[in-house]
């Protein structure tokens, strides 16, 4: 008889079609998300004369290349962008894959619309050719990013060869403080375990610090699992998950809902189940965070100073800190709150959901942005919801640009990019060199902290602004 199991093991075991003697498992894929960067995989398929095995389990949307100023293919001025968005449309038609095109009201960033439409559900195995697919794990699913060859494999076979990763549980204890969000939690975790700390593992986030987060906050935590080196980051489903999911277009209804719910309730990790590694993070000690370097592990609390490389004993790490300070044009010992920003971006699969926009709007309301600031909501439905609540007016009255939905300035593929040398407070997930455009300088923060930077022109402890009101 099986002993106590982790949630990860329960979901994994349910999807094993074949387990070879060498340990490799062929896993059944429930849901596959495709986007306009997936053209390589569709080409591979066409080249081999293959079809999509289960097109109704694939969902596509053009998030990477869609510009944020227009909403039809014809209106896209740039030839390369128009071609990429059009190719997905053509591929979806040719292979019979459901597609939320640039002009569809359900269009958005894959990792926002998956949960939003109820495509992402607890207990499923979901893949997508994008590293931030870890996002969907927040709903109690195994979800991971894959490369183009694997995308082609899943399109052709609806399954995927995987070797089972080790498991790690990260328990966030205590109570998150005022002004502390999911973004700050995951940045604090990465700061603690490093950008490679999760490599080779599937992480389960647990503890009171995770349970108290909203569904949106949890999606942000799981989203940045990949920045901790980990492809998969799961959170046990609970009443918040079920409440979020119920009534969504692709969620089960009626008797099917009851049947699904009964299964979902069996998913959480059993008492006494063993993980390969256990990590505890002190949730009470987390504050609003800001990154200073070119790896998400280069992170401090907003009240801290830029770290001093001379205090790093490892030579390669010291050099990488020196290189980062040079690239970012920062000096060791400088208070983070003295660092002036040139622009602000609120968006990306990490932080563009309705709660993120509400948090940012709370800070912005009654104030003015003093640097160029832009918002790209995570989906056209998030955009519509925000407009119904009047959030768009709060932002535009404060001088923000209110754009359509896309990956936008997080990855700079769609024409929204940051100029060389420009310092950006960004709610996205990667502060790599040149990530937002060649020579761009990115600092990762929560939406509330990004809003605070927008209205003060520098990194500001958002808790002070929130108290001022």
């Amino acid at each position: 008889m099986a002993g106590p199991q982790t949630m990860f093991d329960k979901i994994w075991n349910r999807h094993v079609i074949v387990q070879r003697d060498d340990g490799q498992c062929l896993l059944y894929v429930d849901r596959h998300l495709a986007h306009d960067g997936s053209f390589h995989a569709f080409s591979m398929l066409r080249q081999d004369g293959r079809s999509v095995k289960r097109p109704q389990q694939v969902f596509a949307t053009p998030d990477h290349y869609s510009p944020t100023d227009v909403r039809t293919i014809e209106a896209i001025e740039n030839d390369e962008l128009r071609e990429k968005v059009a190719i997905l449309d053509e591929n979806a038609k040719e292979f019979g894959v459901p597609h939320f095109g640039i002009d569809d009201e359900r269009m958005g960033i894959v990792h926002v619309i998956g949960p939003e439409l109820g495509i992402t559900q607890p207990g499923i195995f979901l893949v997508c050719g994008d590293s931030h697919t870890s996002t969907h794990g927040a709903m109690g699913a195994i979800a991971c990013g894959i490369g183009a060859s694997e995308v082609a494999h899943v399109l052709a076979t609806q399954c995927l060869w995987q070797s089972k990763p080790k498991t790690m549980r990260i328990t966030v204890t205590g109570t998150l403080g005022f002004g502390v969000t999911g973004k700050d939690v995951i940045l604090a975790i990465i700061g603690q375990i490093s950008a490679a700390g999760g490599a080779g593992y599937a992480i389960e986030y647990a503890g009171s610090g995770i349970e108290q987060l909203s569904m949106e906050g949890r999606l942000t935590v799981s989203n940045m699992s990949i920045e901790a080196g980990c492809r998969m980051g799961l959170i046990a489903p609970d009443q918040k998950t079920y409440d979020y999911l119920e009534g969504r277009p692709y969620a089960p209804k009626g008797a099917e809902w009851d049947k699904a719910l009964a299964y979902w309730k069996t998913l959480p990790t059993d008492e006494g189940a063993r993980f390969d590694r256990e990590v505890t993070v002190d949730g009470d000690a987390i504050a609003p965070m800001v990154t200073w370097g070119n790896s998400p592990e280069n992170v401090v609390q907003v009240t801290d100073v830029v770290p001093d490389p001379s205090r790093e004993s490892n030579a390669e790490r010291r050099q990488s800190m020196l290189d980062a300070l040079d690239y970012m044009d920062l000096k060791a010992g400088m208070p983070m709150t003295d660092v002036a920003v040139d622009r602000v971006f609120i968006g990306s699969c990490t932080n563009s959901r309705i709660e993120d926009l509400r948090l940012a709007a709370d800070v912005v309301k009654g104030r003015r942005a003093v640097v160029p600031s832009m918002i790209s909501p995570g989906s056209m439905q998030v955009k519509a919801a925000a407009e119904r609540e009047g959030l768009d007016r709060i932002f535009t009255d404060a001088g923000f640009e209110w754009r359509h939905s896309a990956c936008s300035m997080c990855v700079g593929l769609n024409g929204d990019s940051v100029d060389p040398g420009i310092r950006t407070a960004s709610t996205s997930n990667r502060n790599f060199r040149g990530r937002q455009g060649p020579g761009s300088r990115t600092h990762l923060v929560s939406p509330a902290m990004a809003a605070a930077a927008a209205v003060t022109g520098k990194f500001t402890d958002v808790r002070q602004l929130m108290e001022e009101k």
Binding site: Q24, H40, G123, H153, K253
Partner: protein, 209 residues
């Protein structure tokens, strides 16, 4: 994919930690197809060049002794970040067939395995020792034997490495995974039939009313 068995080639030491796939190939080149004649020039594009487009002599990949290098010895967390398989394609476009590092981004690691670009995990101190040797003997060669799972440094010292047996098999034979999976079609059908009964709510083709 091209099979990988043994390789003896010049190895280049790269001392940077957390080399993300955005560095290996910046995002703006992802829209280009793999057959693009300029594909090799995208490799570490922004680190290899000055702002005016000229090559930076201080970047090791531009230096003469490493012109024919086919192996990279790197540091922690090589290939972290974006899932872009283009990072592997541009390595291959520059004749690299093997990267040795203490740890890899998991997705990049798998992408290498799918393309005959062998990622090898060796302990941090062994990678550091190899990089020191390569700095001291610029242009020196390393031998990788996948069958024996060994790396032999320029000084003759040999290191064993671990690799998943399935991935090793596919790499050595140059196997196409889709073809392999199709051998399990009967297992797939049996699984799916049963699974559709157990998880019926997942098999609604249209959004629920």
């Amino acid at each position: 994919m091209e099979a990988f068995t043994t390789l003896t080639a010049t190895a280049v030491p790269l001392d940077m930690v957390n080399v993300d796939t955005d560095q290996i190939i910046p995002a703006r080149f992802l829209k280009r197809v793999r057959t693009d004649p300029e594909y090799d020039t995208f490799f570490f594009h922004d680190l290899r060049r000055n702002k005016d487009g000229s090559q930076r002599d201080d970047f090791i990949l531009n230096q003469e002794p490493y012109k024919d290098a086919q192996i990279i010895v790197a540091d922690d967390n090589w290939g972290c970040g974006s899932s872009r398989e283009a990072a592997v394609w541009t390595l291959l476009a520059n004749n690299f067939r093997c990267v040795i590092a203490p740890s890899f981004g998991d997705i990049h690691y798998n992408n290498g395995m799918k393309n005959g670009m062998l990622p090898i995990r060796l302990p941090k101190e062994d990678c550091a020792a190899l990089r020191r040797l390569l700095h001291d003997n610029a242009g020196a060669a390393i031998t990788v034997e996948l069958g024996a799972q060994t790396v032999t440094g320029p000084d003759g010292s040999t290191y064993g490495f671990e690799i998943d047996p399935f991935q090793k098999h596919c790499m050595m034979e140059g196997l196409d995974h889709i073809g392999l999976t199709e051998q399990y079609d009967a297992d797939f059908d049996a699984f799916e039939e049963q699974y559709k009964k157990e998880a019926s709510w997942l098999f609604r083709p249209e959004p629920s009313a």
